[in-house]
């Protein structure tokens, strides 16, 4: 009886430890890309991204992201457009230097995943659910996701004009296991 009790206790302890074990930590590698497209000629990249990623496909409850993108690193390929994008009419890079995303919940969605979290752009915080996929290659991996963000939700620019309301974002983040 004692043996059974101790075996059960050990199994329960192991299950508890596994459930609350931290997810694998990943370091963001170089060659990440954050592309955006807002219709026609409007598009570009953000060149600087940093953050922390803890992700385990088998333990999504313990997985989390905290990503920040430097607004000043925007590059549309055109000097005037870059200046305009950083101005107070659009991103106001001086006042809001970073775009931040902090995850709250990650769930499996078919062959991919969905992350729900707080997106903060231009000083406006909004909860969003974004789809992403993860290619696990053992010691390395790649997160990628394509989604749209309505710029009016974050008070970026004036409605209408050459830039569409929905901005398509294409994010690819290669990672290395820590």
């Amino acid at each position: 009886m004692k043996k059974v009790f101790f075996s059960m206790a050990a199994l329960l302890s192991l299950a508890t430890v596994l459930a609350f074990a931290p997810a694998s930590n990943w370091q963001i590698a170089d060659k990440y890309t954050v592309r955006f497209a807002g219709g026609g000629e409007v598009g570009g990249i953000f060149k600087t991204l940093k953050g922390t990623i803890a992700f385990d496909e088998q333990n999504l409850a313990a997985s989390n992201f905290a990503i920040s993108i430097s607004v000043a690193s925007i590059n549309t390929g055109n000097a005037l457009m870059n200046t305009h994008a950083k101005s107070d009419e659009w991103f106001d890079a001086a006042k809001y230097p970073e775009i931040k995303f902090t995850s709250k919940k990650i769930v499996k969605a078919g062959n991919a995943f969905q992350v729900t979290g707080d997106m903060e752009i231009h000083g406006v915080k909004k909860e969003l659910t974004l789809p992403f996929s993860f290619q696990n290659k053992g010691a390395t991996g790649t997160f990628s996701g394509t989604f749209t963000i309505n710029r009016s939700d974050f008070h970026i620019g004036k409605p209408g004009g050459d830039v569409e309301g929905n901005i398509k974002l294409d994010v690819m983040i290669p990672v290395i296991k820590k």
């Binding site: 000629e41 000097a79 005037l80």
Partner: protein, 131 residues
Amino acid sequence: MLKRLLLLGVVSGILAGIVALIYQKVYSSSVGADFSNIAKPIGIVISNIVGCLIAALGYWILNKLLKAKTEIVFNFIFMILSFASMLPVFAAKLPLDVNAPELFPGLVIPMHFFPALAWFTLEPLFIKNSD
């Protein structure tokens, strides 16, 4: 007359091209931004020669129409077109992997005046006032 004008066009185009290449080298080393993949040296030289050849043809046509007032009208048009050619530079969209696109106009805009400068410098050697 046309032969001399075309020769002036080629020579001033080559001179403008050489000056543009020197300027590109100096600009790149001083600001640390390299745009040689976009403004290729061969492209710079060819566009200067083509620009000056078009100027030569323009001069020839104006001379047929205006005779004595050719030079002053031509010089005005050449300068206005040189100024106007700056505008597309500000609208140029560079590849996204190019760093500091804001430094690109500083490289290219002065180059747009080199054909006119080279032409005005060499013109007295090729076109006599009596022509």
